[in-house]
Amino acid sequence: MTRVRNLVLGQAPHIYNAQSTSSLTWGMSLALVPAAAWGIYCYGAAAALAIASAIGAACIGELAVGGLSRRFTLGNGSAFLTGFLIGMAMPPNVPLYIPVASSLFAILIVKAAFGGLGSNWMNPALAGIAFAILDWPKAMNVWILPRDIAGAVGISGTTPLEFVRQPLAAAATGSNPLDLLKSAGFRFSGLDHRITDFLNQLLFTRIGSDLPSGYFDLLIGNKSGAPGELSGILILAASIILLARSMIRWEIPAFIVAVFSALTWVFGGLPYGSGFFSGDVLFSLFTGSFLLVTFFMATDPVTSPSTRIGMFIYGGGIAIITFLIRSFGSMSEGMAFAVLVMNCLVPLLDRRRAPLAGGRPLGAKEV
C-alpha cells in the first residue's frame, strides 16, 4: 500500500471557510487597537494600565477555569476580547482593582459558570462593565479631559453626554447640546476650529449653512470619556472593516443606529425647547459608549438572535431602552444595561423562529 504521511481522514466537507471562531475574536481585538491607541494617547499610561489589567485578569480567569477541566481555551481569543472591551470602557485613572474585578466577574461568573464560550446568555464584557458601574458608581464616574484640551475649566469633571443631562443644563432653552457645552466653558481644540473653518469656507457656506465648531472634536474623540470609547471615527472605521469581511452581521448595528437616530431626531430636541424633529443625532451617536457597544458588543453572536426578525426586535429594543435610559435614567452610560436586558430576551426571540419550509411544526404528524 502506498500511503501518504500526515493525511487527515476527516469527514466531509474537506474544505472549510477561512473564517474560524478564533480568527473572528482575534480579528475584532486587532480592529480595536487603533481606538485603544487613541485613548492611550489622550490619557497616557493610566489608560494603558487599565486596559492591560483588564485583559490580564480576563486571561488569568480563563486559564484558571480551563485548568479545572484541563483544557487550554485562551487560544480562541474570547477571553482576551472580553478583557480588552472591559478595559476600554473604564474611565481614565480608574483604580486598577475595578477592571480586574470586572474582568474576573465577566469570565468566571457570566461566562464560565454558564458553560463557557457559546453557552453564556449575557455578553460577558457588558456584564463586567455593568458590574463595575453598579458596584463603584462614584469611581466609575470620575472623568478628566484628554491632553489636547486639558486645562479647560468649567466641566472638566464630567463627560459631554453626562453634562448635557444635568438638570441645570436641561433647563436651558433655545439651544442644542454643543451650544450648552460651549456656554459652560467646554473648550474645543485649535484643530477643531481650523478644520471647521476650512469646511465652512469650502463647502457649507456655499450651500447656505454653517457647521458649528465642536463636531470635529466630537468625532475624532477630543473629549472626556472612557479611553476606548473616545474616537467614534476609529471605531467606525474598525466596524466597516468587520462588516466588509463579514465578521459581524450588519442587521443588528443597522437596526440599532436607525431606531436610535430616529428617536433622537424626533424627541431629542424637546429638553432644549426646540420642539419635535430637532434632536442632534450626530451628538448622540458619537458620545458615550454608543458606537463601541453597537458594533462590538451587541453583535456578539452568542448573545444575540440568529434570525433576521429576531435581530430587528433585538436591535430596536436596544435602541429604545438606550434612548429611555439616556433621557430619563440616572446614568448617562446606560447602554450596557439596554443590551443586557435584550440579551435576556434572546431565547424568546429565537423561540419565535418558526420551522422553515421543509421542517414541520413541533409535534405535527407527518402526513
Binding site: 500500500m1 502506498t2 500511503r3 501518504v4 504521511r5 500526515n6 493525511l7 487527515v8 481522514l9 476527516g10 469527514q11 466531509a12 466537507p13 474537506h14 474544505i15 472549510y16 471557510n17 477561512a18 473564517q19 474560524s20 471562531t21 478564533s22 480568527s23 473572528l24 487560544g75 480562541n76 463557557g116 464560550l117 457559546g118 453557552s119 452581521r249 453572536p301 452568542v302 440568529s306 434570525t307 423562529r353 420551522p355 422553515l356 419550509a357 421543509g358 421542517g359 414541520r360 411544526p361 413541533l362 409535534g363 405535527a364
Partner: protein
C-alpha cells in the same frame, strides 16, 4: 435564455478558485500496469466474479456479472492476466471484491479505428439491452445503472443534461462539453429516443462559452439554461425547482444525466465499447499540474497524481470526489471506479482547518442551507438524542451537501452528526428508547 438562474436561498461561493475551474483540454492517461477492478462500482449488490485467478482476459471482456436491479456488469479495462481476486476496502465505507489484472497481451480496440454503429435503426429493446450489457451506470455516486433509470420509465416530462459542475474544483463535465460536445450530444439524442421526453434541457454553468454548446445551436427542441456557479447548484431539488417550478418538481418524471454519462452511453452504443474508461478531474492546490484525464477504470489514483506532476507540497487531504461530498483516502493505490469524478489533493491552506470550538450561535449555517433547515438546532437536538424532534425540524430533508459544515467558524461536526442519522437506520432504534 440569457438570464442566469439560481436557487432561492443559501449556498456558497467558494473563495477564489476561478483558475482551477476553467474547462481544460482532456488528455489520455497512461495505461495502468495493474488495474484493480472493483466488482462494486454501482449502487446495488456487487457483481458476481466470472473469471478465475490466472485466467487471461481480453480488453472489454466481462469479469463481473451484475446481479439484478442496481447492479451492473463490470468489464476488463485492460487486457491481461488475473493476478489476484481479493477483498478491498472502499473509500465510502464497506468493502468489495476486486479483480486485479496485470497488463499483458494485445489490445483489441486501442489504436484501432472504431466502427460506428448506426443506432438510429435500433429498436428500443435492442438499445436497452446494449446499455445493460455494456455496464453503463450514472457517473455520479452512487452509480445507478442507466438501464434501471431507463427500463421502467413510462413517460418523461423532462430530460436534463446537467453540465453544471456538482462541486467546486471539479471540471470534468464542463471540459467534456467543451471537448466532446458531439459525443455528449449523441448520447443525449439516444436518451431522447429512449425516453421521448416532453422537454429537453441542457443545463450549463454561467461561464460556459458558446463553442461548448455548438451541437445544439439552432436546435429548437433543446432549451439551454444557464446557472450561477454557486454550490450546491447542481442539487436535484434546487435545479428542478428552477427549471420546472416549485410545484411541479415533486410530481414530475425527470431524468437528469451528466455529460460524462452521455459520453459513456455514446461509446457503448455508437462505438460498441463497454465501460472501460472514465473522465477524472485531478486537482487541488497540492497538485502540480491539475488536469482532466481519460482514465482506464482500475488505475490507482497515485498513478494519476504522478502523471499530473506529483505533489506541489505536502497534501493535507486526498479526496476521491468533490471537496464537499467526496470521500477521504489515504491509500494511493485506491482505484478509479465508474463513479470517481475527481481525485483532489488539498493543501493545508485550502482545507482551512481550525480548532474546534463550541457553537457560538452565529447562524451562518442556517443562512447557507439550501434546504432552508436550521443545522444548529438539528445538531443540538441530535446531541441530546431527540431524534424524533430533529426529524420534525426537517432532518430528513438534509442532503448532506456540507455547506453548513464548510461555513461553521467553530468547525462543529454538523455533517458528521447528520450523516450518522441519515445513512444508518438507527434513528428508529433511538426513537424507541425512553
Amino acid at each position: 435564455m440569457s438570464s442566469i438562474r439560481t436557487f432561492e436561498r443559501g449556498g456558497i461561493r467558494v473563495r477564489g478558485d476561478g483558475e482551477q475551474e476553467e474547462p481544460v483540454s482532456i488528455a489520455n492517461a497512461f495505461l495502468p500496469n495493474s488495474a484493480v477492478v472493483l466488482l462494486k462500482q454501482h449502487a446495488g449488490a456487487p457483481a458476481r466474479c466470472v473469471v478465475r485467478r490466472g485466467e487471461y482476459v481480453r480488453e472489454g471482456m466481462i469479469v463481473g456479472r451484475g446481479l439484478g436491479p442496481g447492479s451492473a456488469d463490470v468489464h476488463a479495462p485492460v487486457p491481461g492476466v488475473v493476478r489476484d481476486i481479493r477483498v478491498v476496502l472502499l473509500p465510502e465505507g464497506g468493502e468489495s471484491e476486486a479483480v486485479v489484472i496485470a497488463l499483458e497481451g494485445s489490445f483489441d480496440r486501442l489504436g484501432r479505428r472504431a466502427e460506428r454503429y448506426v443506432w438510429n435503426s435500433m429498436g428500443r429493446a435492442d438499445l436497452l439491452r446494449t446499455v445493460r450489457d455494456r455496464g453503463v451506470v450514472d457517473t455520479e455516486a452512487p452509480g445507478v445503472p442507466l438501464y434501471d433509470l431507463l427500463a421502467d420509465r413510462e413517460s418523461t416530462d423532462a430530460l436534463i443534461l446537467n453540465a453544471v459542475e456538482s462541486e467546486p474544483y471539479l471540471r470534468t463535465e464542463s471540459s467534456l462539453l467543451k471537448e466532446r460536445a458531439e459525443q455528449a450530444s449523441d448520447g443525449l439524442a439516444i436518451l431522447a429516443k429512449l425516453t421521448e421526453p416532453a422537454r429537453i434541457v441542457v443545463a450549463v454553468d454561467e461561464r460556459c462559452d458558446e463553442a461548448s454548446l455548438r451541437p445544439w445551436a439552432g436546435d429548437a427542441r433543446i432549451e439551454i439554461v444557464r446557472f450561477e456557479a454557486r454550490y450546491p447548484q447542481d442539487m436535484r431539488n434546487q435545479m428542478l425547482e428552477s427549471i420546472l417550478g416549485a410545484r411541479k418538481r415533486s410530481n414530475s418524471s425527470v431524468l437528469v444525466v451528466r455529460p460524462s454519462t452521455a459520453v459513456a452511453l455514446h461509446e457503448a452504443i455508437v462505438l460498441a465499447k463497454p465501460v472501460m474508461e472514465r473522465y477524472v478531474t485531478v486537482g487541488g492546490g497540492a497538485i502540480k499540474r491539475p488536469a482532466v484525464l481519460k482514465v482506464r477504470i482500475g488505475t490507482p489514483i497515485g498513478d494519476l497524481i504522478e502523471e499530473c506532476g506529483g505533489f506541489l507540497g505536502p497534501p493535507a487531504r486526498i479526496v476521491l470526489g468533490g471537496p464537499f461530498r467526496g470521500f477521504p483516502v489515504h491509500d494511493l493505490d485506491a482505484p478509479v471506479t465508474k463513479t470517481s469524478s475527481a481525485v483532489l489533493a488539498l493543501s493545508e491552506d485550502e482545507v482551512g482547518s481550525a480548532h474546534r470550538n463550541p457553537c457560538i450561535r452565529c447562524g451562518r449555517c442556517a443562512s447557507v442551507c439550501p434546504e432552508k433547515l436550521d443545522p444548529e438546532r438539528l445538531f443540538r437536538l441530535l446531541s441530546h438524542r431527540r431524534v424524533a424532534e430533529a426529524e420534525s425540524w426537517g432532518l430528513k430533508d438534509c442532503t448532506l451537501c456540507g455547506a453548513c459544515g464548510y461555513i461553521c467558524p467553530s468547525r462543529v461536526q454538523l455533517v458528521a452528526a447528520f450523516a450518522v442519522r441519515l445513512r444508518s437506520g438507527i434513528s428508529k432504534a433511538m426513537e424507541a428508547r425512553p
